[in-house]
Amino acid sequence: MKPLKSLFITITRPRFIITLIILTLLAALIGVMVPQLSDRSPSYFERWKMKSPITFYIVNTLQLDGVYTSVWFLILVFIILLSLGYSIYLQILRSFKRKQFIPPAEDGWDSIDTLYTVEPDSLIRFMGKKGYVLKNKNDALLIFSKNSFSRWGAAIFHSGLFLLIVAAVIGLAFQKRGFVQLMEGDVFSGRHDDFLVRELGVFQRHFDTGFKTYLSRFRQEYWDTDQIKAISSSLVLIDDNGNTHEHTLSVNRLVRYNGINIYQSFNYGYTLSFVLKMPDGREIITHFMLDRPDKKTKPFAGTSDFPETPYIFNMKFYPDISMNSFYLGRPILNLRVLKGVGRMVFDGLIIPGDVVNVDGNLLRFFNISSWSGFIYVKGIDMSAAYLGFFISCLGATIMFLLPHKEVFISQKGPVLSLYGRTNRYKPLFLYELERIKMGIKGIC
């Protein structure tokens, strides 16, 4: 029991708390300074490993490239929770004790010579106008208080933080999140393996949506400044029994189905579909998903392998031959096909329906459609996080905007003595006390 108590005393020591905050700050700094596994492609880290193996080894061993999922960060969060929890307990105890309005010691009182006795009722009225509430009254002493609830400010603020961190940790531990890219007319099976990217909490192993998603139509709209005005997708969700449910998904307007939230991603573009007919008659169909450029004068571009062949396709696609539109009009594709590294086997402009000879094979550009990314999230209810945010904001407001003030007024004959104390901004409170003193002189 004793070691446990000393542990809690240690983790709530001011120096320890400051150290925890600084360590969290440093962890966040590392998170933005060192490239993180979740932000970059695996090839980026491969290149880094090749270029500077020692630096990469150190960073990787210390888990600096995955700060927020690293063991040391989780330990830090655990210690913060312990420290925060015990601090809240101590703050609550302290707040209860402060309720007792213990009169101050003899020294430090400011005296006002009133020449005659001031009626307590006049003092109570006067202090009432200043926002002070009478908390205690006896023959010799009046105790006034303002914002007395402010003594709870720190406990409220830290409780909100505690709740927020707990909710975030639980949410992260149990979250299921997946990303898919779907072209118009295509169906996503909803199976774990068919997600392009998955983010699963430590207690999750599998993410099946339990329904299929069919993208019937994707719409994109732009402002005249080339910025996106609106994007939306018409989805058909198909359950295990084959029942269909139509939904329209757009940014800020998610679809909830079967306990899963589907969000519209900002990743989208055009899909170019090709069929390559080999001399032996075999046909390979492939779809290339090209990302949207930031300007309509730029092409939808991409470079990718053509599966099962030695060819690399380098594509610059303009939805309209004017080369000045995001919308599909009279499309044109600047296609370069490389065989292996550097040997060009085709370079030319083609339009849908064209059949061209590529290194003895027949390549047909047979379709253009839109594609879009979708985010699937199955998380636990995060109302606790909302509540945590709200409580923290409330606590901070109480703490810093409404400091707790107490004024003690004692009368012995014609001499009235005044004493005040506050938990924040003491030099400013002294001015207020001075004004109270002047005001009392005025009512004498």
Partner: protein, 278 residues
């Protein structure tokens, strides 16, 4: 044709506001440099007068653009400057003792505005993600937080100036050192509240758009770093009685981090937030 002239009109009004703020800053600087207390009054009047064309310019632009002042450097800096000047004039009206802090507040405000005006004033449209109530809460509270940080910087700098030049008559007229220190603390507390609300509103908004509260986006993370730094400031004051000079210098460091987060990081790091500051 009408839109072009209205557009030009708001640019001219912005420049008129800059003019008032420059004159205000000059009066504040004169007041501090030559210890002339009388110069504080015209400085405050100029700041107040500047707020009027500035507000009209923001409203006109809001009307033309069809959205609030939260896209492009031009709009963001202008709105930040307006809120800073408004907060300062209200605070200085209620607490005349902090008026000399205007030398920092007004100078930073007109510099922000002028920098914004020299960038491309072209109107950018809102992307679909930047719509909704949480955006308004997120942006508004961030601007208030930025304004109070600038005022806290002003009182901290005054503290440092007074501390090193106490023998001069003018500085003796400034509020006592402990009062300046308390005002810095109060404005830091104020900005801490609004920074907290900014982060909270941003997280809730992110959850509605992307299905996650926190994605460790560079600006999200820098915002957290700045918030933690203010946490360090407040804890050091509370636990270790870091008052006066040390607290004033720490406030300057906090200010540098805030500027990094709000104005520098969107330029240098690819972020979901970069859209608002292009």
């Amino acid at each position: 044709m009408l839109e072009i002239s209205t557009f030009t009109y708001q640019v001219i009004l912005h420049w008129i506001a800059v003019g008032f703020y420059v004159i205000s800053s000059a009066f504040f600087a004169y007041s501090i440099s030559f210890q002339k207390e009388k110069a504080l009054k015209p400085a405050m009047i100029m700041a107040l007068l500047g707020l009027i064309p500035h507000a009209i310019a923001i409203i006109i632009r809001w009307d033309i653009a069809g959205h609030g002042p939260y896209m492009t450097k031009y709009e963001v800096l202008s709105a930040d400057a307006w809120i800073t000047v408004l907060l300062f004039t209200v605070a200085a009206w209620k607490i005349p003792k902090i008026r000399p802090a205007g030398v920092i507040v007004m100078a930073l405000s007109f510099l922000m505005m002028a920098f914004g005006l020299f960038t491309n004033p072209e109107i950018r449209r809102l992307p679909p993600s930047l719509k909704g109530m949480w955006l308004i809460i997120h942006v508004t509270f961030n601007k208030i937080a930025a304004g109070s940080i600038i005022i806290a910087l002003g009182t901290s700098v005054l503290y440092l100036l007074k501390e090193s030049r106490q023998e001069r008559e003018f500085y003796r007229k400034l509020p006592p050192l402990d009062v300046l220190d308390a005002y810095s603390y109060k404005f830091v507390g104020f900005s801490f509240i609004f920074w907290t609300i900014t982060i909270a509103a941003g997280a809730i908004w992110a959850n509605e758009v992307w299905g996650r509260y926190w994605g460790w986006d560079p600006i999200e993370t820098w915002s957290l770093i700045t918030w933690l730094l203010y946490g360090v400031y407040l804890h050091l004051r509370n636990f270790f009685k870091w008052h006066g000079r040390r607290a004033a210098w720490l406030m300057v460091v906090c200010f540098v981090f805030s500027v990094l987060t709000i104005f520098i990081i969107p330029f240098v790091m690819e972020s979901l937030h970069s859209e608002y500051f292009r």
